[in-house]
């Protein structure tokens, strides 16, 4: 049975097992590979997407659950907050291997959308589900503060 939802603003219909994790549906069926597989059990955040604007671990979300909802991936973010985050990430050269960074950025965009002036403690709380094995955390904090400045939070 096909599952209909909105992906990055466009309606899609994927004929896959409703128990399939959203992650694999996005990567393999929809062909969007910016969302990454890191653990498969909601422990690392590499697979973070937005479902109805909320940061969501796509590896632990059966695709059946997003029927009718709006899913946004790293390829589809374009709000002023998202642009500020991506530019801050680039300006501060946050990324090392880069593998975790789609998920980091998705979590950061969600944080700044809800809290335009987060403290270090807010950042640690919101980002603590996103592992970075390269440990780029010093710059992640700095880049979120920089993006907050840009959006005038």
């Amino acid at each position: 049975m096909a599952i209909d939802f909105t992906l990055n603003g466009r309606p899609v219909s994927l004929d896959v097992d409703p128990d399939m994790p959203l992650l694999w549906a996005i990567r393999e069926a929809a062909g969007l590979t910016g969302t990454k597989f890191g653990c498969g059990m909601a422990q690392c955040g590499a697979c973070t997407v937005h479902v109805a604007g909320e940061p969501t671990r796509s590896c632990a979300t059966p695709i059946g659950q997003v029927a009718g909802q709006a899913v946004t991936t790293i390829e589809g973010i374009d709000s002023p907050v998202a642009q500020a985050v991506q530019q801050a990430w680039q300006r501060l050269d946050v990324a090392q291997c880069g593998y975790c960074q789609s998920g980091q950025i998705m979590s950061a965009v969600a944080l700044l959308t809800q809290n335009r002036r987060p403290s270090d403690a807010d950042i640690d709380a919101a980002m603590q589900g996103n592992l970075c094995r390269c440990a780029t955390y010093v710059r992640i904090r700095a880049a979120i503060h920089a993006a907050a400045q840009t959006i005038g939070g």
């Binding site: 059990m41 390829e75 990430w89 090392q96 291997c97 880069g98 593998y99 960074q101 390269c134 440990a135």
Partner: protein, 732 residues
């Protein structure tokens, strides 16, 4: 990791012998040069022979792009940016026109001059071995552009200047971009000698250039192996034995094949592979698989039993790795003697991108996509597995989502496994092999488990007069092709590095090694031997400082009088951290200084330990001397990351065995550092004109001992077993 390129003075100018330019019609200048020898920094040491070989490092296209061809893997360390900076510097390119592309596997063209003959990345050697090579290539390409302009404008070459991608002749008022000269430049002969810039004229080196991969890595566009998709491709996962050293006896593929989307289940040397239309089906197929294992040769011990056995060995002398004076006599005669044992667990690399390899196999060719770290080793091993010749194997090196040493192994484990799967299905479809996180955590090739025993002797005046250090653990290089080259008199250098070259002036000193064996496969892990030797030596020295009632910094200064680079790093960190200024109760400061891979690093950690034993690392001040700083911001990033990576292991990472089986499986029980535990970090670079050395690894070793020493300062409790989380730090 493999070799320590100690700094030699960078040659200001150098020469190349005759060579020819490779010319591609319409492609502009593709520079290929035959050098007679490797860089002098390497030659001076006499450790690496670089045979004459053509090297192709830069392509200048009519569209004005300058593409630097990277022989090294970009796995996060910023090497694409570093290599491009070095070449663009001598080329006088405009940074905005510079691109980077990975080189094809070729041991002749792309030999690692630090540890070849092979193409590979590791040992924090990439900048060190490429520095002179790429400067020469850039300077030669520049000379050819100048020659082309001179020919075009009929003016003397000596009057032509090059700046930021523009070639100009002031007297005639002519100027043009590189791209317009590309094709003509390709027809010039490569100069017989090139003059390199005096470092005082560097315009790019030493500045904070933006990373070349920053945009791709913030938009989801960066391509990792796991992102490669080929028409008709199948996804494969492998069921491997639950215990190291076990083998597959039999399996029943029926239930797996019955899972929708599963295409096949086949035996491979490492276990049983399930192939499916996608990852979800492959995983469900693997769950359905029934496999019988032969565990007769498997490891069946617990970690605790291994530690007990190692500890007993550490009570006896081993093979000598270093001898100065007579440590036994010195200890016997000492007025005071201290002894301590240190325990280190197995550690997993756990790169964020699980191991992945894509293979397309045909009767006479094999194409591989991987975040490939040992390209020519993997090429040879893949050829053997495929039944082809190495030159029939093409390697496409993608970005790697981290490695920390994991992707650099001489058996090419995951690459060979992927080729074996493709071969087992007769090459009828391209295969993408993905390791799950559980496969990765349980999959071996760990940093070995070690036990160290140290003894130190103080004389009546409380001078440190004797030091005995015994190390017990598995050999990383034993049984690999590096063994013949790098295991001497039974001593694997990677087991003792950081201990056998202890810089402190101690008259009687012995370092011994016991090499153990186990079916648990082991591998280098970011900073290799120094992951444990730096901890044992720097914590034990702290204990001796305390016993001799000397300030830990003062004692190190006294013992490092003949090691100016250690001393300079130490002094810079001490100055920036405010060493000696008072801290409130429950807080403490600890120091460690350690050289690895030719870079000198001192770190001072400030910690808070609550009465309930909770430890928080608040701040780390780091000073690093890595010779000429190619890109200070990339250096800072690598040190920050190295500190976070090392701190994660120091605080909470451990792979433990129960009956030979790994107890951990994913990030809930193998726990790298998260953002809430990341301290503030300050990185200070010691100014230097010495030849550049690496920074990928050297930031890691000092953090664990610096934190342990800070914990002692805060609580009076010594941490000698890692991870620190395994210790009770309660004071209340």
């Amino acid at each position: 990791m493999l070799f320590q390129p100690h700094a030699a003075a960078a040659p200001a100018a150098t020469d190349a012998t005759r060579r020819d330019a490779l010319k591609l019609g319409g492609m502009g200048l593709v520079l290929g040069l035959i050098w007679t020898a490797g860089p002098r920094a390497v030659q001076a040491q006499g450790t690496a022979e670089a045979p004459p070989a053509p090297n192709a490092f830069v392509r200048i296209a009519p569209d004005d792009t300058v593409t630097v061809i990277a022989k090294h893997l970009e796995m996060g360390q910023g090497i694409y940016t570093g290599l491009a900076t070095i070449l663009a510097e001598e080329l006088d390119a405009d940074w905005a026109q510079v691109r980077v592309e990975s080189a094809p596997a070729d041991a002749r063209l792309y030999n690692n001059l630090a540890f070849g003959p092979m193409q590979g990345t590791g040992g924090s050697s990439s900048v060190a071995n490429s520095y002179t090579q790429l400067r020469r290539a850039g300077a030669a390409a520049r000379a050819m552009l100048v020659a082309a302009a001179a020919e075009l404008w009929s003016v003397p070459a000596a009057e032509i200047t090059v700046e930021r991608g523009t070639v100009a002749h002031a007297r005639s008022g002519r100027s043009t971009r590189f791209g317009a000269l590309a094709e003509r430049a390709a027809r010039q002969s490569v100069p017989a000698a090139v003059a390199l810039k005096d470092p005082s004229r560097f315009r790019l080196i030493g500045t904070r250039l933006p990373r070349v991969d920053a945009v791709a890595k913030t938009t989801g566009r960066a391509q990792f192996a796991i992102d490669v998709t080929l028409p008709g491709m199948l996804v494969a996962v492998v069921q491997r034995p639950p215990k190291f050293g076990a083998r597959m006896r039999s399996f029943d593929p029926a239930a797996a094949r019955a899972v929708p989307g599963v295409v096949d289940a086949v035996a491979v040397p490492s276990g049983v592979a399930v192939l499916a239309q996608g990852m979800y089906a492959a995983l469900r197929g693997r769950e359905a698989l029934a496999v019988q294992w032969d565990e007769s040769a498997a490891e069946t011990r617990d970690s605790a039993a291994m530690i007990a056995a190692y500890s007993a060995l550490a009570d006896r002398p081993g093979l000598p790795a270093r001898r100065e004076g007579d440590a036994e006599r010195g200890l016997a005669a000492a007025a005071r003697r201290l002894e301590a044992k240190f325990v280190f667990p197995y550690l997993a690399h756990a790169p964020m991108e699980p191991l992945t390899c894509v293979v397309r196999l045909t009767a006479d060719a094999c194409e591989i996509w991987a975040g490939d770290q040992f390209q020519t080793v993997d090429q040879a091993n893949a050829a053997r597995a495929a039944g082809l010749r190495p030159e029939q194997v093409t390697i496409h090196t993608t970005f790697a989502g981290g490695s920390f040493g994991r992707r650099a192994n001489t058996q090419s484990d995951y690459v060979v496994e992927a080729v074996s799967i493709a071969k087992a299905i007769g090459g009828r479809a391209p295969v993408k092999l993905i390791w799950t996180r559980e496969d990765d955590i349980k999959g071996g090739l760990y940093r070995p488990l070690y036990v160290h025993a140290l003894a130190g002797g103080l004389d009546a005046a409380r001078n440190l007069v004797a030091w005995r250090h015994r190390i017990v653990g598995q050999s990383i290089l034993g049984g690999t092709p590096f063994e013949a080259m790098m295991v001497r008199n039974g001593i694997d250098g990677t087991s003792v590095e950081g201990a056998s070259n202890l810089p402190y002036a101690i008259p009687n000193l012995a370092v011994d090694l016991h090499t153990t064996t186990s079916p648990v496969p082991v591998l280098w892990w970011r900073s290799v031997g120094s992951t444990h030797t730096a901890f044992a030596t720097e914590v034990f020295l702290d204990e001796l400082a305390h016993a001799s009632e000397r300030d830990p910094v003062a004692l190190r200064r006294a013992l490092l009088a003949h090691h100016p680079r250690h001393l300079a790093a130490l002094n810079l960190a001490v100055e920036k951290a405010g060493w000696g200024t008072p801290l409130p109760r429950g807080r403490g400061r600890g120091i460690a200084v350690h050289e690895s891979f030719g870079s000198y690093v001192a770190q001072i950690a400030e910690v808070t330990v609550g009465g309930d034993g909770t430890l928080k690392v608040d701040r780390v001040v780091c000073a690093v001397d890595c010779g000429v700083a190619i890109n200070p911001d990339v250096i800072a990033a690598q040190i920050e990351g190295g500190i976070g990576f090392g701190l994660g292991a120091a605080l909470a990472e451990a792979i433990t065995l129960k009956g030979g089986e790994v107890e951990q499986s994913n990030f809930h029980d193998y726990t790298p550092l998260r953002i809430d535990a990341m301290p503030r970090v300050e990185v200070h670079i010691v100014p230097s004109t010495a030849a550049p050395t690496g920074v990928g690894e050297p930031g890691v070793p000092p953090i664990a001992p610096a934190v342990a020493n800070a914990v002692f300062a805060a609580t009076g409790r010594r941490v000698r077993t890692l991870p620190i989380g395994a210790n009770d730090l309660r004071t209340g």
